[in-house]
């Protein structure tokens, strides 16, 4: 089976879908791996490293795509690149399937089996290939580091001969994987951390990392069986925004990560709350790329409000730690391929009935097979 990893075309993307370690593993399985030249340039891996690991390096992207039985990518492909794939090929990447209906149709039309990384079920068994988790985790860390580097104050408490510097107050909104890692990192740096999530079990998890859980009585809130949050009712949302306003106003750093699976993230921090914050505070919005939890934030940009609050709407936040992000992402790819690998046939087996593939296989055999996206 021929596996091909093209370079990312989105200019903000610094990650690579495969790193040399993953290549080595795949080659070990018996796959032929080729990568586009320059694949790892932005995350610290030269072509030579890939060659050492057993891949062939090609500059001819189109040929690579055309020859491949399986393509790995970080981001969804340009629409016109789908046509280059051969029928029966497998394509694995983030696909943003809720929005990219056009893309999905193309995949189906091209008879490509497209697997969406976003849709891998959040089961214990599937964790090794769960790229959402592996990336969110690093994003949580990076968010705190970025916040720390953009502030004109420090995180830890210091009692010094020149007076006491009080610890930074950090508020983490949304305690998923990214939120948890943000809590852990901020705690490590010595901050006082408060956290909120609509899922009650998430509050316990925050406490297990030493954060203070903000408890707001919103009535029943539900999660999906995958552990994702469901959308709040407008009433509940209003209540939440109200109850957390005071915490925000007192915080030096606010990190928002609140997402709702398959929907636009809710706006949780309105302009008036931002206006109530102290000059010099920082808000990092990890949901910015898909719309943002903070009113007025621009993905990929840092804006300073009139009252001196920095709004950091980083896009591709994992890309700031591209080397490690690529390492775990590539491991996810390799784990997935290994999981479905047929040793005899040396191919990736498409098994639409398998619990995991049922979750993440979007198109197969010329049609959209995923329940949610069937037209």
């Amino acid at each position: 089976m021929k596996i091909f990893a093209p370079k990312e075309i989105n200019p903000i993307e610094t990650r690579a879908s495969l790193d040399p370690a993953a290549v080595k593993k795949l080659v070990g399985l018996g796959a032929e791996v080729s990568v586009e030249s320059g694949l790892g340039a932005r995350c610290g891996h030269g072509d030579a490293a890939y060659i050492d690991a057993g891949a062939t390096v090609t500059a001819d992207r189109a040929a690579g795509l055309a020859a491949a039985d399986l393509v790995t990518r970080v981001r969804q492909p340009a629409l016109d690149e789908v046509g280059l794939l051969k029928a029966g090929a497998i394509h694995i990447s983030f696909l943003d399937p809720f929005h990219e209906t056009e893309l999905i149709s193309r995949f189906a039309a091209q008879q490509v089996s497209a697997i969406s990384l976003e849709m891998i079920p959040r089961t214990t068994l599937a964790q090794k290939m769960d790229a959402i988790s592996s990336q969110a985790n690093l994003a949580g860390y990076a968010a705190v580091v970025i916040a720390a580097s953009r502030m004109n104050t420090i995180f830890p408490m210091m009692m010094t001969p020149a007076g006491t510097i009080s610890p930074a107050k950090v508020f983490v909104l949304g305690i998923g994987v990214a939120g948890l890692q943000a809590i852990a990192t901020a705690k490590r740096l010595g901050a006082r951390v408060t956290a909120f999530d609509v899922r009650p079990e998430a509050l316990e998890q925050a406490e297990s990392l030493g954060a203070k859980a903000l408890r707001i009585d919103l009535g029943t809130t539900a999660g999906t069986d995958q552990g994702y949050a469901k959308e709040l009712s407008p009433d509940q949302l209003a209540k939440q925004i109200d109850a957390q306003a005071k915490v925000c106003a007192q915080s030096d750093v606010v990190i928002t990560t609140a997402k709702v699976f398959g929907r636009k993230p809710p706006i949780l921090i309105k302009k008036d709350v931002v206006a109530s914050m102290q000059s010099g505070s920082v808000i990092v919005d990890l949901a910015a790329e898909s719309g943002g939890n903070v009113e007025g934030i621009t993905p990929g940009e840092v804006t300073v409000t009139a009252n001196g609050v920095k709004l950091i709407g980083l896009a591709n936040i994992e890309g700031t730690v591209a080397k490690h992000a690529s390492q775990v992402l590539a491991a996810n790819f390799a784990n997935m391929i290994e999981h479905f690998w047929d040793k005899e046939a040396r191919t990736f087996m498409i098994k639409p009935a398998d619990e995991i593939q049922q979750g993440c296989l979007i198109t197969h055999g010329g049609s959209i097979v995923h329940e949610r996206f069937k037209i």
Binding site: M157, M159, T160, P161, I165
Partner: protein, 453 residues
């Protein structure tokens, strides 16, 4: 019948043993007390069955009178009045032993040496217990000044009485002279008074425990007088466990027993001694435990030594234990403690000490004199009182944490090493400071172990 009585005695001894053991643990103490009461009842009933015991009516009257007085008294006393009541009861027990010994003497059946020694001991110990407890009662009840009453030639007088008691004892045992016995009774009563008078009210609990141990021994002596096993066993149990308890209580006050007995201070609670220059007094981890165990407020003052020993985790644990034990625990951070600004903060944050418990220098200094125990963990310069009281000192004028004003200070150091500034530290020579030598982590871990053991 005799056999039955003896078996009953064995049973009641066993009950006393369990009773005392259980009294030492919070969760079983009340049951322990009940058990020992049952043991007492059994012993009494068994004794009434002796065939020599004939005058049941008189005994009955005595028992009823005693029960009513004791019961009513114990029931209606205010919570706050309990300790002095215990002292009084204890005194009665001692007097009872005197009476038993005296009565046996009056019956005059015994002539052998052992019995006479026993009678002598019962009267002597019982007598001292009686008047000593009485004085303790009066002091605690506030019917007599709690201040140590010192009188001239005190030690000499006591020594004379002591000698006289021994001489009279020999005369009594050898000759059986009754005047000697009366003399012994009188002098032992006097000794009790004179012995306890010079001891301050604050030390009375220890003295009561001690006298209690004494009254146990008096009971055991009475047991030898009438050759009664349960008296010996129970008396001896009380005697020895009482001694241990006395020592434990002394330690909890950071005093030695000798100090309590002959120190002649303690009236106001705090030691009144002058600073003894030139001596650093060490204390063992175990002794420190007893003080900490009784402390209501504890302040940790960490310094560079805590960092060197990497003792922060252990310190945090000790802090939590002390809190659970009911003490108010804070961590006082001097701004220059350690070797970099915020050095202590890093370490304590790592150990997860809540920010709320961290205290800056000024607020802690404002209340330090109310603090029971300060634990200085490898800090030196930042608690050097020379900074406030020695204008010659190079650090004069630097604000320090005034730990020397706390009630008790434990200073944890490896040895006589000086701090960053290289100065001697007068704190370590103060009367209220005790050194616990050794690596700070080892010491703290040891203290934690004491609490858990």
């Amino acid at each position: 019948m005799e056999k039955l009585i003896d078996l009953a005695y064995i049973l009641s001894s066993i009950l006393f043993i369990f009773g005392i053991k259980m009294l030492g643990k919070a969760e079983s103490a009340r049951r322990g007390n009940l058990l020992s009461a049952v043991g007492m009842l059994i012993a009494m009933v068994a004794t009434l069955l002796y065939k020599e015991v004939v005058d049941l009516k008189l005994i009955g009257i005595g028992l009823v009178v005693g029960t009513v007085i004791g019961g009513v008294w114990a029931q209606k006393v205010q919570m706050t009045g309990m300790p002095e009541l215990v002292a009084l009861f204890n005194g009665f027990g001692g007097l009872a032993s005197v009476f038993v010994g005296w009565a046996e003497f009056e019956f005059g059946k015994q002539t052998d040496v052992v019995t006479e020694v026993a009678i002598y001991s019962a009267i002597l110990i019982g007598g001292v217990t009686f008047t000593g407890s009485l004085i303790a009662y009066l002091k605690l009840a506030g019917k007599m000044s709690g201040r140590p009453t010192l009188f001239p030639a005190q030690k000499a007088i006591n020594a004379v009485i002591f000698t006289a008691l021994i001489v009279l004892g020999v005369i009594y045992v050898v000759q059986g002279a009754s005047w000697a016995l009366y003399g012994i009774i009188g002098l032992s009563l006097l000794l009790g008074v004179l012995g306890v008078l010079p001891i301050g009210g604050g030390d009375m609990p220890v003295i009561i425990a001690f006298l209690n141990s004494f009254s146990g021994l008096a009971g055991a002596a009475a047991g030898f007088v009438i050759l009664n096993k349960v008296l010996i066993v129970a008396g001896c149990l009380v005697g020895t466990s009482g001694i241990i308890l006395t020592i434990i209580m002394c330690k909890a006050m950071n005093r030695t027993f000798g100090n309590v007995l002959f120190g002649g201070f303690g009236a106001a609670g705090g030691p009144a001694g002058k600073a003894v220059e030139g001596e650093m007094k060490a204390v063992s981890v175990e002794d420190a435990y007893f003080v900490l165990e009784a402390a209501q407020s504890v302040v940790f003052v960490p310094g560079y030594g805590m960092a060197v020993a990497q003792a922060q985790h252990a310190v945090k644990e000790l802090g939590s234990i002390l809190e659970k034990n009911g003490a108010d625990v804070r961590y006082a951070i001097h701004p220059v403690a350690g070797r970099m600004p915020g050095h202590m903060n890093v370490l304590l944050a790592e150990a997860d000490v809540p920010y709320e418990q961290l205290c800056e220098m000024e607020p802690i200094n404002a209340s330090i004199s109310q603090v029971d125990v300060v634990i200085v963990i490898g800090a030196n310069d930042v608690v050097n009182p020379a900074a406030v009281d020695d204008p010659e000192s190079p650090i004069y004028g630097m604000p320090i944490i005034n730990v020397h004003e706390a009630r008790t200070v434990f200073a944890l150091k490896r040895g006589k090493g000086s701090g960053f500034s290289g100065l001697e530290n007068a704190l370590f020579f103060r009367e209220n400071c005790r050194m616990i030598y050794g690596d700070a982590k080892e010491t703290i871990v040891g203290l934690v172990a004491q609490f858990k053991g």
